[in-house]
């Protein structure tokens, strides 16, 4: 039995671009829906570096791009202050570097003109000794160093916040729902999609005036449903995630092939990355390879000689939907974005694609595509996504007061605040949610229940994205079973379903840990396995 829904715009793809566009459409009063085949942001968005940077590298080509990036970084800070945190960067200059320190400094002086737009501080220039004072782990071989700053963000949470705001303004979001076929009229016009719920197995038909393909690296697959060819150069990137902060500064590192990478603070840990390699594999089974991890660590070691002393917990891997370009190395490909009207540029009117781009530009990209979609729909409304706060960004949160009022620990209050901002009291307002479920983050039971009841959380395996549960050293061994039971309460699972969800989480964490398993994480996974095999009787349940 299929359900029939109608809307004006159907967005396919729940990454940052899809949710960003959905929010913009909803704020302009356009009825819209979004379908995402897994969890919001679980594709490229989750695997990104989680930084809304100001586009330093574009100063050479076109400073206007840098200006726009900085303005937009400032806008994102304004609309979601609770999701962002400043990351000071340290850029060491080695004697053998191809670019001398004066040229580097000129570049940073140019950047200094734009950084006030994003609340950035001007650069500083440090001698070797001064740099080592600020970061003793730095290699003593450096000539000098420079500092600047960018802003980090919880990208998956940003995605969810955009979706939530859209829903509050009348949109509908369906996760774990895959568009399996596009509806065509006699003349070939795309008028909607047939969507299958991957968890329930049922189907819904969604009729829409326009369909927006925001499938990221899956964009070509979605375009294929309309008989359109979309060519990308998918670029795989991995990050290594450390157990905690290697440094509170981001430190530039250069790969053996000269590529720029960094080890940078992200939420409570540090991450190191990233790579950029043409990817021809299965987008649903991306794996970190030994040589990618080795390449990243070797680069980090040049800047931070003792980096291998630090404990790596797992890897994160994803694929960028980079615009196609022939003959260039991956890094040199444009980070620009494209909006395609398949009616004008192809033979499938009714479907548009947005592709390429970068995380930091999401709001601009969303504004651009929404302007064009609204033009096609005859809707005359201004974009307000840079002015209106995202859920939680309405006002600053007093964490100490929150902790006292609800009787929770200060650590839990802080982390809750960084995800929910001003709305944290609403999350905690329900009954008896103060139990800690995930100790590593920490995550309280109330947040888990809120996510299931009000934020569309449907699976345990999505919890690492939504609230960083199971993301810490123990990779879910201490929290998965209890968390599954909390979700079972909220979502009506029976005991067998809860066990399957636990098994799925254990396996998903193993997938990210195994390729980079080393150091103390070996002992950790020994405990992980003892716990999961110990509590789940039927081995065949474990994937």
């Amino acid at each position: 039995m299929t359900q029939l829904l109608r809307t004006r715009v159907l967005v396919i793809g729940g990454g940052i671009n899809g949710t960003g566009a959905l929010r913009d459409l909803a704020l302009r009063g356009v009825p819209c829906m979004l379908v995402e085949k897994k969890e919001l942001g679980s594709g490229t968005t989750w695997a990104s570096s989680g930084m809304i940077h100001g586009g330093l590298r574009y100063l050479q080509k076109d400073p206007e791009v840098t200006r726009h990036s900085c303005v937009d970084s400032g806008a994102i800070q304004r609309i979601a202050p609770h999701l962002v945190f400043r990351i000071p960067f340290l850029m060491p200059v080695f004697p053998e570097d191809p670019i001398g320190p004066e040229i580097v400094e000129i570049g940073l002086e140019m950047y200094d003109r734009f950084v006030p737009l994003k609340n950035g501080r001007p650069h500083t220039r440090l001698t070797r000794e001064q740099a080592l004072t600020l970061e003793p782990a730095l290699s003593p071989r450096i000539d000098c160093a420079f500092t600047l700053d960018e802003w980090g963000i919880d990208a998956a949470r940003l995605c969810a916040a955009n979706a939530l705001d859209a829903v509050e303004h009348g949109a509908s979001v369906f996760t774990h729902s895959e568009a399996v076929e596009l509806l065509r009229e006699a003349g070939g016009r795309v008028v909607g999609a047939r969507v299958r719920d991957r968890l329930r197995g049922d189907e819904t038909t969604i009729e829409a005036e326009l369909v927006l393909n925001a499938g990221g690296p899956w964009g070509p697959d979605v375009a294929e449903l309309a008989g359109e060819k979309l060519k990308l150069r998918p670029g795989k990137g991995i990050h290594l995630v450390f157990e905690r902060r290697v440094s509170n500064l981001a430190i530039y590192a250069r790969g053996v092939d000269g590529r720029d990478m960094f080890t940078f603070p992200h939420e409570q840990n540090s991450m190191a990355g990233t790579t950029d390699d043409d990817y021809y594999g299965d987008l649903d089974k991306i794996e970190t390879r030994e040589d990618e991890a080795a390449y990243v660590l070797e680069a980090m070691e040049r800047s931070i000689p003792r980096v291998r002393d630090h404990r790596v917990v797992h890897a994160i891997q994803g694929v960028r939907p980079t615009l196609y370009g022939f003959g260039a190395y991956e890094d040199e490909l444009s980070r620009d974005y494209r909006i395609i009207d398949h009616g004008q540029e192809g033979s499938a009117p009714g479907i548009w694609t947005i592709t390429g781009g970068k995380l930091a530009a999401y709001r601009l990209m969303a504004e651009d595509v929404t302007d064009r979609l609204c033009g096609a729909l005859g809707v005359d409304a201004r974009c307000r996504t840079a002015q209106l706060p995202l859920p939680g960004g309405e006002a600053p949160l007093d964490h100490a007061q929150l902790a006292k009022r609800f009787g929770i620990g200060i650590a839990a209050a802080l982390r809750l605040g960084f995800r929910h901002g001003a709305r944290a009291p609403r999350v905690l307002g329900g009954p008896n949610g103060q139990r800690t479920v995930c100790a590593c983050e920490p995550v309280l039971e109330a947040e888990l229940r809120h996510a299931a009841a009000s934020e569309g959380l449907r699976k345990l395996v999505d919890c690492p994205l939504r609230m960083r549960l199971g993301n810490g050293a123990c990779q879910g061994a201490s929290c998965a079973a209890f968390a599954a039971q909390v979700l079972a309460d909220e979502l009506g699972w029976d005991g067998a379903r809860a066990v399957r969800e636990v098994a799925e989480l254990a396996a998903a964490r193993w997938h990210d840990v195994a390729p980079v398993l080393a150091g103390q994480q070996v002992a950790q996974m020994e405990i992980h396995r003892a716990v999961f095999f110990g509590m789940i009787g039927a081995l065949e349940v474990l994937p």
Binding site: L59, Q60, K61, D62, P63, E64, F85, R86, P88, D97, P98, I99, G100, P101, E102, I103, E105, I106, G107, E109, M110, R121, T124, R125, L126, Q130, T133, L134, E135, P136, T147, D149, E243, R244, R245, S247, N248, L249, P265, Q268, D309, R311, A400, A403, G409, I410, A411, L414, F418, A439, C440, P442, G472, A473, A477, S478, Q520, A523, Q524, I527
Partner: protein, 151 residues
Amino acid sequence: MKRGYRGFLREFTRTGSWRAISLQVRTGAAHMLRQLFLRRSGDPVEQFLAHYGPDGVRAPDLAARALALEASQCVVCGLCSLECARVGGAPPLDPREAVIATSRLETDLLREGLAGELASGAACAGCDACSSVCPAHIPIARVQDRLRALR
């Protein structure tokens, strides 16, 4: 000087629009003039800490770094908390929470002005019963001390 301006040609040839060229030339000229005629004033380390102190960044302390590395060996077994509870301890963060918080939450606590919350109320007694049961050999009492001293 030549070494410092190494790569000038390489970077200039990658320059794009007229706007970019103009910006480079102006900034480059100003930079060279400043190098020739002006002394740099101020201590960049002080400047850096003034810029980023409000974000919770402090000058790193080698002892704290070493302690953080030890704390990162935690396997979340909970034996420390069990032992602490058995001997009747009740510190503001139980040992496992303290080990998890140190160097993971410090900048957050400092940025939000909440470091004092950890120093209020009953302190860890320093009996170190927790460390004696830690399979990862983490000196937990020292971790508690450090958190208490955070500012």
